[in-house]
């Protein structure tokens, strides 16, 4: 309560200036950041001052024995005696039970205690602990309401982050803001257009996690509305480290990890394969059965097998080194950091190298003018393989993992393949044959200057430019079987993405007695440009010159040149009003104009308001000693979403070619033009309205603290490339239509359970619920989900009243048994088996009142066939489909524990998502119960002897598109709890440090992704085949597994 009194005293005090000794000083926080607005007063008096924005203060004291007390909320008071010194550098230590800390918000900073919106903070240590290449993975489980879905375990692959559910059917990724400026986070893309989004490198992987000071996640409208048209999906603010005043610091860390695949899928070996295949053919009535000798050999286990998964997976490793120099004085602070990361993925021929350097510089030119820069350059060099495709017609480019689990184990070992129609290429051939390299370089430069009109009024101007160049090179050697071969295939792609931003802001603050007003007014312009050139040539005489000699190719696919630009002009502002530090009000607004929308719909306004009431400041609570903080928050506001490609409102014509006779006995191609897009003069923003009610609380001097929030959101005018009737001549029409609704609860708790000098234990828990439902659509059941080409309408539907990501298909209803058929009535079991085995492909008649379900069609009226629920009309058709699962989790949580004992520290982090379903796309084939390579689950197939009710009999006719029914067999519960990280560290004590002339020496060993508790049958339960596509949540197609890694490292500070 001391701090509170101090503040009150200060607010009420009048400034009395005397003339004796003038003392100046600069106040820093523990991390070396300037700490503005600190109060400085002379002990025992009411005389004091407030340091300016940069923590610089000046005060006149009566004499040399005067004592100054510097205080700031969230920090321990610092006392100093003036003596002969007149210039002080004061470093504030955080109050270990930090009631308040500085939190970065949109276009500014705020004391955590003064927050009116819902904001989660993640600190430095939690970001680097996981050892992840990219920061997205580090966010999993760290903040309530933030759900991270790993797209792929490939080094550098992105993750899909959703903040408080799904706000849009058209991408629900948050806005990323680095050091105050929004960045472009569009995926680097894959060279192979056949690859799903999960297979590409995330631009965030270009940011070195070790450079990050903190990550703030803005969740409610009050916090996000200042980002207007891009705030609806939440905002992730990334702040990088800066230099500290004081002696220069050299910081070095290095770690090395070994990465391994946790599990392999149990597939058939050669002998099992031949037997199941033969049985499947027999049951289908096929005549091409294997000889008795071959069957006997298989039964005796004589055929050799290759474990193809072993062939494609390997032990990977990652080496990561950071060297970082920082320091500075009052006038200039610097940080120079360099990172070298070298990761070898757990799939052969996948790797990722990052070299990056950062210079962060802050300088005071004068009292009034300050300048600075955040300059970052990163170079990525990454080899990849196809890991997300599954198109059989893709020449030699199937997913390497699919190839490994689908290739029969005998291939390449016995000369049996082609005559049996199993013409495939092996995964090892694919590995040898395909080379795909990405080189990506990115500048992210931010230069700023501020002018201080007065201590209450400051102007800031920032220019930021981001330039990302991607060079992708692919060559496929001419070593594939003819059916899969393009006889040498070279593809190149060069992409340039630039984003230029200029932001100008005025910051102001003023106090009128008990009223305290501060805020920011600003304007920004953004200009985005994208340019791409792609070439593809195939048919090479040899594999020597690859893509360097396109002219020698016999086939030249047309080069593709694309270009896009878009612009955003914005005016924004925020006013914070604080009455007696008890009532807080924040008003925010942004007026955005985006080039992406139709001519007369480019502008929109996004307002938000929030109030907070610090109950703990009221006398009746203040008197309760155990309650140290109690704050109620309410906010409501609008934010928008403009994530569509440019030019969607315009009518477009596209060109192509068509062949005609050339009049001289040959044929030639003629250019054609045709309308390719319906214009939409009404195309505009989608708008999310969000209400948030929260309470922040702290007990026992904030030793135990937490936050609880309820939110509800409604998104209207959804931007959606709506499927329309083909009668229009177009398949899709970009429109604003429909609404989504989400609500949920978020809780985070943190406590210092043990807190002594020698032993401490901190435990943090967060959990959140929240799901998004569709509340209106112009028509029901627009197709969504995943479709390999044969699932009519896809695996999901958008249905009013159902969740986004509702799986839609048939419901299995057990297996047809002997007694279900007329012909098998009144027979002994032995006779039933004899009748069946006489001709396994014969069809029978269901008993009269049979109502357990239906097989896929009348040719499957056979014992052992899969039954599906029927609505009673006796036909298995569209009407029988229903919702058979949901992709959004019911609850997600994280548990973070840090224990220190003397010089040892022990960290543990667990995260989990419960209640979500995942479609195992790979199982469409691996559990088809047909004549191809499959999971060894098919050994449990129905047979007359093993007449189970779960798995159907093997049937070669199950192959292909037509018999396939998307059913709940492929929808799995993907709930999981993951032991995400365990770290054991040792900090060497002062004796050792002094001997080595170090100020810090830490060694650690850490395990990441150590264990996953889940029932999901694929590699990884939190996976997204199509990346951030909200229309196809929850699909896995044998995605690149996430490695278990064991990491060792040390950190040195000079």
């Amino acid at each position: 309560m001391k701090i509170f009194y101090t503040i009150c005293l200060l607010i009420c005090s009048t400034f009395v200036f005397s003339q004796e000794i003038k003392v100046t000083g600069t106040v820093y926080d523990s991390e070396g950041n300037l700490l503005g607005n600190t109060s400085v007063f002379i002990e025992g008096t009411k005389t004091g001052t407030i340091a300016d924005f940069d923590g610089v203060f000046s005060i006149t004291v009566p004499n040399e024995s005067s004592k100054l007390v510097v205080s700031y909320i969230g920090f321990v008071d610092q006392k100093l005696t003036v003596g002969l010194q007149t210039n002080f550098t004061i470093k504030m230590k955080p109050d270990t039970q930090s009631l308040d800390e500085i939190v970065v918000v949109g276009y500014g900073k705020v004391k955590k205690g003064d927050l009116t919106g819902a904001v989660s903070s993640i600190k430095e240590k939690d970001i680097t602990n996981s050892g992840a290449v990219s920061i997205e993975q580090a966010l999993a489980g760290k903040a309530a309401g933030v759900i991270v879905t790993q797209s792929s375990g490939m080094p550098g692959a992105g993750a899909n982050i959703k903040i408080r559910g799904i706000n849009s059917l058209n991408g629900s990724e948050p806005l990323y803001v680095v050091d105050g400026t929004p960045i472009n986070n569009s995926s680097a893309g894959s060279l192979n257009s056949e690859d799903e989004a999960s297979g590409s490198i995330s631009p965030l992987s270009m940011i070195n996690p070790a450079d990050i000071q903190s990550i703030e996640i803005l969740k409610d409208a009050s916090a996000t509305a200042i980002y207007g048209s891009r705030g609806a999906n939440g905002v992730i603010l990334i702040t990088t480290k800066t230099g500290e005043i004081g002696k220069g610091v050299i910081y070095i860390d290095h770690d090395y990890s070994i990465n391994q695949n946790i599990r392999t899928l149990p597939v058939l070996d050669s002998n099992e394969f031949w037997l199941t295949r033969n049985q499947a053919n027999l049951n289908a009535g096929n005549t091409n059965l294997y000889s008795q000798q071959k069957q006997d050999s298989a039964r005796a286990g004589l055929f050799r097998s290759t474990n193809w998964q072993k062939a494609v997976f390997r032990t990977g490793n990652t080496s990561n080194t950071n060297v970082n120099f920082s320091g500075g004085n009052k006038d200039i602070r610097y940080l120079v950091s360099t990172n070298l990361l070298n990761a070898k993925g757990i799939v052969e021929k996948t790797d990722f190298t990052r070299t990056s350097s950062r210079i962060n510089l802050d300088a005071n030119i004068s009292d009034k003018i300050k300048i600075g820069t955040r300059t970052y350059y990163a170079l990525i060099d990454s080899d990849q393989q196809s890991t997300s495709t599954n198109f059989t017609n893709t020449a030699g480019l199937n997913s390497i993992i699919q190839r490994a689990i689908r290739t029969p184990s005998f291939v390449g070992l016995d000369a049996l393949s082609t005559d049996d129609g199993v013409e495939v290429y092996t995964p090892t051939l694919a590995l040898e044959g395909n080379d795909f390299n990405n080189k990506i370089s990115q500048y992210l430069v931010n230069a700023f200057g501020t002018y201080n009109f007065s201590k209450d009024f400051e102007f800031k101007s920032v220019i930021t430019y981001q330039n990302r160049s991607t060079a992708q090179r692919f060559y496929q050697k001419n070593i594939f079987p003819a059916a899969f071969s393009r006889r040498g295939w070279a593809k190149t792609s060069d992409i340039r993405v630039t984003l230029f931003t200029n932001t100008n802001t005025f910051e102001f603050k003023k106090r009128f007695g008990k009223h305290n007003i501060s805020g920011v007014l600003g304007q920004s312009t953004e200009s985005f440009e994208f340019e791409m050139l792609r070439t593809s040539n195939h048919g090479f005489a040899n594999d020597l010159l690859t893509y360097f000699d396109p002219g020698s190719a016999t086939f030249n696919d047309p080069d593709i040149v694309s270009y896009q630009n878009s612009k955003l002009v914005s005016f924004f502002g925020r006013v914070n009003y604080n009455y007696q530090n008890k009532f807080l009000v924040t008003l925010t607004g942004r007026y955005d104009g985006s080039s992406r929308f139709a001519e007369n719909n480019k502008w929109a306004f996004f307002p938000a308001a929030a109030v907070a009431y610090k109950l703990s400041r009221e006398k009746f609570i203040r008197d309760i000693e155990s309650i140290s903080n109690l704050k109620l928050r309410l906010s409501y506001g609008l934010s928008g979403n403009q994530v569509i490609q440019p030019y969607q409102s315009l009518s477009q014509l596209q060109s192509d070619q068509v062949g005609f006779g050339d009049g001289s006995g040959g044929e030639s191609l003629s250019t054609i033009y045709f309308n390719s897009q319906l214009p939409n003069a009404n195309l505009s923003w989608e708008t999310t309205a969000q209400f948030d009610a929260g309470v922040d609380f702290g007990f026992f001097n904030n030793r135990f603290n937490g936050t609880f929030d309820y939110y509800s959101k409604t998104t209207d005018d959804l931007l959606f490339n709506n499927q329309i009737t083909i009668i229009s001549g177009f398949r899709n029409f970009f429109q604003n239509f429909g609404s989504l609704e989400s609500y949920g609860y978020e809780l985070s708790l943190n406590g210092d359970i043990i807190s002594t000098d020698y032993i401490s234990w901190n435990l943090g828990v967060n959990a959140s619920t929240g799901k998004t439902k569709i509340t209106s659509l112009t028509f029901n059941n627009a197709n969504s989900g995943y479709n390999q080409g044969w699932i009519a309408g896809g695996t999901q539907r958008l249905i009013v009243g159902e969740e986004v990501g509702a799986f839609f298909g048939y419901k299995t209803a057990g297996i047809a048994q002997f007694n279900d058929f007329v012909e098998f009535q009144n027979l002994s079991r032995a006779d039933q088996i004899a009748l069946y085995e006489a001709d396994p492909s014969a069809t029978y008649t269901f008993v009269n009142d049979f109502n357990r379900g239906l097989p896929i069609n009348s040719t499957r009226h056979q014992p052992g066939e899969q039954l599906y629920n029927d609505n009673g009309d006796g036909e298995l058709n569209e009407e029988d489909k229903r919702v058979i699962g949901t992709a959004q989790p019911d609850i997600s949580f994280g548990i973070n524990s840090n224990f220190t004992y003397g010089n040892f520290e022990f960290g543990l982090f667990i995260d989990g998502q419960l209640g979500q379903d995942l479609v195992n796309v790979a199982n469409f084939q691996l559990l088809a119960f047909d004549a191809a390579q499959q999971l060894n689950t098919v050994l449990n197939a129905w047979t007359p002897i093993n007449s189970n009710n779960v798995y159907p009999r093997l049937n070669a006719l199950n192959s292909g598109a037509s018999p396939f029914r998307f059913s709940d067999r492929y929808v799995e519960d993907a709930s999981f709890v993951r032991l995400q990280n365990v770290t054991l560290g040792y900090n060497f004590g002062k004796v050792v440090l002094d001997k080595l002339n170090l100020s810090q020496l830490n060694v650690f060993v850490s395990g990441t992704n150590l264990h996953v508790w889940t029932n999901y049958s694929g590699f990884n339960p939190d996976v997204s085949l199509t990346g951030s596509n909200t229309l196809a949540l929850g699909h896995d197609n044998g995605g690149y597994p996430i490695a278990r890694s064991i990491r060792m490292g040390l950190k040195l500070k000079f």
């Binding site: 014509l653 009737t725 044969w790």
Partner: protein, 564 residues
């Protein structure tokens, strides 16, 4: 002092805000989209070249060279289950057609565009018809382009109504939702308001020339003759009612076909093509990769052997790249020992090794429909191929018209994605056979001209003249002549419907190849579930509207065709 300072700051504030508003004024221009990478309707349709390129765009939807192409890959499904065509492919979309379990979600419609392709074509045609008239250009050329667009629109609608029944009437360029939210109109309305007037317009304004891929007046006439022929015959409505056409159409068909026969520059190819030991009979010359657009061709789709512009039919048609099933399973069999060929079957497979897709393969029933000595039989139902150098390759029976022989022979650079075999939708032979059949009906008995027309077809195939037949006997012969002449040309199903033989002719289909059909052993396609003994169900006279379209057009009151 303090107050003064604040005044100054207020002025600064105001200046700042002024600055902001100046920036705002220039915003509208800043935010205007002016994409350099595509053309918009507003700056297109200005020149003769725009008119031509837009018109040529309409052709694409018959055969766009993509993996979903209509005449380049999927349309032959239409004849599956007739007595001509079956499928080897086990368990995929094709077998639903053979087993008569077609549903509205079959991927043939839903994923592979065999409904939507036609509508995209109609939309493109409507744009040309709407926007080209305003272009300042040579009037004849302009009218010819509009004529082509209307004929193509008619052709797309003609495919749709015969396949799916009632269709919405869309004749305007689409720009708003109201333009495409339409109820289904009756088949008769579509014929009378679109198909027939469009073709009548085209036959007056289109070019009078041999066909090179674009619609000529003669193309329009032969299509119109075919339309009349169909209008004279039977069909089932979307409500499942079997209706007979108006017999007055026989005379219209006869007269229109006669115009083509007598006045057009087209004629049958009558000279065989000899290349070393490889001989293409006169009948096959129209499909020879080396001679596209022969004088016989009246509507031909050019497949160009470049990825994206070729045909996939070579991949679809081949049951197996070798003949072990057909010539005998034992690997040691040598079928042409008598001809001095000692190769084993496995050594005689086509070197290009087309995948054993076998989506469309001929039935032995079709083989039997040919008279002995008919040159069309051994060429059309290919079981062996002799190269110019005398090397023999064998395969299971394969529709020769779908095969790009260079791909089968494994020529460098060929791929199943870009084979070079053109699809011919209308030929001069259509005019002859339409004339023969329609004249026999319209005149009550076969006239001399009718015999002449029929005998021109027979003579070209190496068969003798016929004469002295009754009306019934002539009709039966004309029907069979169409069957064998147009094998693999996607006409069988519609002929069986038109002549009300769909049930009778498909009830007992021979599916086992025997020694009588030049097979070494009895050979039957063991993959198909098709028995050849199923009665064609009433509902499948028409195919179902794709399920997604039914859902998207619920607001327009669309009902599914009866029986689905």
């Amino acid at each position: 002092m303090k107050t003064n300072k604040y005044k100054i700051m207020n002025i600064k504030n105001i200046l700042g805000l002024l600055l902001l508003s100046i920036i705002a004024i220039s915003c509208e221009d800043y935010l205007k989209e002016d994409p350099p990478t595509f053309i918009s309707t507003t700056n297109f349709y200005k020149t003769a070249s725009d008119a031509r390129t837009a018109c040529d765009g309409i052709y694409e939807n018959f055969s766009d060279g993509s993996s979903n192409s209509t005449y380049g890959r999927f349309w032959p499904v239409i004849d599956l289950g007739t007595d001509d065509v079956t499928s080897r492919t086990q368990g995929n979309l094709y077998n639903d057609f053979l087993t008569h379990t077609v549903s509205s979600t079959n991927s043939w419609f839903e994923n592979f565009g065999q409904f939507s392709n036609f509508w995209i074509g109609i939309s493109r045609a409507n744009n040309v018809i709407a926007y080209v008239p305003q272009i300042e250009m040579d009037e004849d050329e302009k009218n010819s382009i509009i004529g082509e667009a209307r004929a193509l629109r008619a052709l797309y609608y003609y495919h749709l109504v015969r396949t799916y029944g009632n269709m919405p009437l869309v004749t305007e360029a689409v720009s708003t939702e109201a333009d495409f939210n339409k109820p289904r109109s009756s088949v008769d309305e579509i014929y009378n308001q679109i198909i027939i007037p469009d073709l009548q317009y085209a036959e007056t304004v289109c070019k009078d020339a041999l066909h090179l891929g674009r619609i000529t007046k003669w193309t329009a006439k032969v299509v119109l003759a075919d339309v009349y022929l169909n209008r004279a015959g039977w069909r089932r409505t979307s409500q499942g009612v079997l209706v007979q056409g108006d017999p007055s159409n026989w005379a219209l068909a006869r007269d229109k076909a006669k115009e083509v026969i007598e006045n057009s520059p087209h004629d049958l190819n009558t000279v065989a093509l000899t290349n070393g030991q490889n001989i293409t009979p006169a009948y096959g010359v129209a499909w020879s990769e080396s001679s596209p657009f022969t004088k016989e061709s009246m509507f031909e789709l050019a497949a160009v052997p470049v990825e994206g512009f070729g045909s996939w039919l070579s991949r679809e048609c081949s049951p197996a790249p070798f003949g072990t099933g057909y010539w005998g399973r034992a690997a040691g069999i040598r079928p042409f020992v008598a001809q001095g060929n000692n190769d084993r079957i496995l050594d005689m497979r086509f070197p290009g090794r087309p995948p054993a897709q076998g989506s469309f393969i001929p039935t032995p029933d079709l083989y039997d429909a040919f008279e002995d000595g008919d040159e069309r039989r051994d060429w059309s139902l290919m079981t062996k191929y002799i190269t110019s150098g005398g090397k023999t390759y064998v395969s299971q029976p394969t529709f020769r018209k779908y095969v790009d022989i260079n791909y089968f022979l494994g020529d460098e650079g060929t791929s199943f994605r870009n084979t070079n075999n053109n699809f011919i939708i209308y030929r001069f032979a259509d005019a002859l056979l339409i004339y023969a059949e329609a004249a026999n009906e319209a005149d009550g008995s076969p006239s001399l001209d009718a015999y002449n027309a029929l005998n021109r077809i027979r003579n070209r195939a190496g068969l003798a003249n016929v004469s002295g037949l009754s009306q019934d006997a002539f009709r039966a012969l004309a029907w069979n002549e169409r069957r064998v002449e147009f094998n693999a040309e996607c006409k069988r199903r519609f002929d069986l419907i038109r002549t009300n033989q769909l049930v009778t002719e498909t009830l007992n289909i021979t599916l086992t190849w025997t020694a009588q059909q030049d097979s070494a052993t009895d050979y039957k396609n063991s993959f198909s579930q098709f028995s050849g003994t199923q009665a064609w169900p009433d509902n499948e006279w028409l195919l179902p509207i794709p399920q997604s379209e039914i859902e998207l057009n619920e607001i327009n009151g669309w009902l599914q065709n009866k029986g689905y």
